[in-house]
């Protein structure tokens, strides 16, 4: 069995002088859900359009199930796409939209009808079959778009920010619902999103994109706990990060002098290097006398945000590369804006990156 269902190799794409995809490679296993996560304009949609055949790569190749499809036009690729804002055909009904691909492929009406009905049932839109798509709510439009893409049994499903048009509450339901539905169908899917929480919810692995390249491709836990770069650290989740200079190094550990004190972390940097140390907010506790194996720092609170199940402390740090967010399950009494707090966090959970 070929484990690599989709293989993008050395993909490059320029628009005029702007390089939008830069020697990008990506491998996705069969049945896997991968998210393409990155800020607006980093080239996610462009990559998706190249995979779908709506754009030609300038260099590189795209293979699905071991077959190079780089030269095929979009309508021969059998790659399903759920477009951003769905691109439903406004002149057709729900059922006609879903049946469009079957009809295009010359499937006879008698054979198409049950497949359309099945797709309608799959997305729970059966009673809307004869409605015009313009009369649907956002969530319903999304379901139709998904059904339309799935009914032709594509080898791969691409979804471009499929939840961005939905309000927050609906988005959360639809994320889980869609993930479940696609798992049931057993399809390989790529989600594009700029929302890190959404990426964490829907995908098996996440590819963090930066300026036309994939910065890191990993499962959500690895991405969160072991980000490969400052960029990934910042893009996925929050953190406390402090710039500093390595003062001592040895045995897979460095000592870094920061604005708030000395920090030790696993890593290898030459003394004198400019680095950034970082720790995830939930690894930090407020104790003056912590057990061993921890860094301790002293900081001042600038703002407190109550988030329900947890409380965030924002630390008073000068603007610049330093950023301080600490998360506590419960706010200890007497702490508010202006309080001095002692911070402690495990050395093992402390990350070091070369300064940008």
């Amino acid at each position: 069995m070929n484990d690599q269902h989709l293989a993008v190799r050395g993909a490059s794409k320029r628009f005029g002088t702007a390089s939008v995809l830069d020697d990008l490679s990506l491998a996705v296993a069969r049945g896997e859900f991968v998210s393409l996560l990155g800020p607006s304009g980093c080239g996610k949609t462009t990559l998706l359009r190249c995979i779908a055949g709506l754009l030609r790569l300038d260099a590189g190749s795209i293979a699905v199930a071991g077959r190079d499809i780089s030269a095929l036009p979009a309508h021969r690729r059998n790659v399903g796409v759920v477009f951003q804002n769905y691109a439903l055909f406004p002149h057709l009904t729900v059922a006609q939209n879903i049946g469009f691909g079957l009809r295009a492929q010359g499937v006879r009406a008698a054979e198409a009808a049950p497949r359309i009905a099945e797709a309608l049932a799959l997305v729970r839109m059966a009673e809307f079959a004869d409605r015009p798509v313009t009369a649907l709510s956002g969530g319903q439009q999304q379901r139709v778009a998904v059904a339309r893409a799935l009914v032709v049994r594509p080898t791969l499903l691409l979804l471009d920010e499929p939840f961005s048009a939905l309000d927050r509450k609906l988005r959360e339901t639809m994320q889980v619902e869609l993930k479940h539905l696609l798992r049931e169908v057993g399809i390989t899917a790529i989600f594009v999103t700029h929302d890190q929480e959404e990426a964490l919810v829907v995908s098996d692995r996440i590819a963090v994109m930066n300026a036309g390249r994939i910065e890191q491709l990993a499962d959500p836990a690895t991405l969160y706990q072991r980000p490969a770069s400052l960029y990934v650290l910042d893009f996925v989740g929050q953190s406390m990060r402090l710039g500093g200079t390595v003062s001592a190094a040895g045995l897979g550990e460095v000592t870094v002098e920061t604005r708030l004190g000395t920090v030790r972390a696993p890593g290898a940097f030459a003394p004198g290097s400019r680095v950034v140390v970082a720790v995830r907010p939930e690894a930090v506790t407020l104790t003056e006398t912590p057990p061993g194996g921890r860094n301790t720092l002293a900081a001042r609170v600038s703002e407190v945000s109550f988030l329900g199940s947890r409380t965030q402390l924002h630390l008073d740090l000068p603007a610049g590369e330093d950023r301080g967010v600490v998360e506590l399950p419960r706010l200890p009494p007497g702490i508010g804006p202006g309080s001095a707090v002692p911070l402690a966090f495990p050395i093992a959970d402390t990350m070091v990156f070369p300064a940008a």
Partner: protein, 273 residues
Amino acid sequence: MKRDPLGLLALPGVGYLALVFLAPLLLLLWSSVRGPEGWTLDGYVRLLGDPYYRGVIAASLQLALITTGGALLLGYPAAFALARARGGWQVVLFALIFLPLTVSIIVKSFGWGIVLRRDGILNWALLNLGLIERPVRMIFTEGALYAGMINVFLPFMVLPIFAVVRMLDPRLPDAAATLGASPWFSFRRVTLPLSLPGVVAGVSLVFSLSVAAYVTPSLLMGDRYMTMSMVMAKAFLNLRDWQLGAAMAAVLLAMALAVVVGAAALQRRLGGR
């Protein structure tokens, strides 16, 4: 609630058109059925009973159909190319289509005459290309009339279609392609149906303008090709036969109204889906 004073601002304009536009039209219709001895259908009887006038009506309709068809054939693909043109180019191309609309119809018909004369530009070009050996007679032929009519009314076809096509979501053909639709299939099933409102607008506009055309046919054909408008003008100005002229005016009016109302109904159906 008090009467809304803003609504009263409509009165001067509406009143003006009612007096200066609607009343004269009604008067004209009334006089088409009102003879010296009371009610009469004499004008209509003479108009529709006379094979000559029936021929004129048929010729006008034929001219309008050919003009509309020719303009659609040329204008539809051109509108797509215009919609696809990028930024600066689109403005320039748009201006080039738009400019002829603002140039006097007399100037255009006159220029068209220069193009088609025996010693005009077209004969000159064909001679120099070696395609013909001696000048061909083109002016005062029906072909020249059709070309001239299409020339005058073509922008009225291109611009409404362009206005619709420009707004089409460019991802719709993309979506069709990812569903396995060939470009031809996606054109027939997606682009064409969605562009129909523009086509209906363009066709009704060109048809109603060209069925009533006066200047172009009289300049390009003189008396050789009589249209309804020409007969009507002649009835009023030369023959002083008001009964006949008014009847012809009523027929023209009815046609124009039928096209407008029909187009509006069609638009509603297209839009209602």
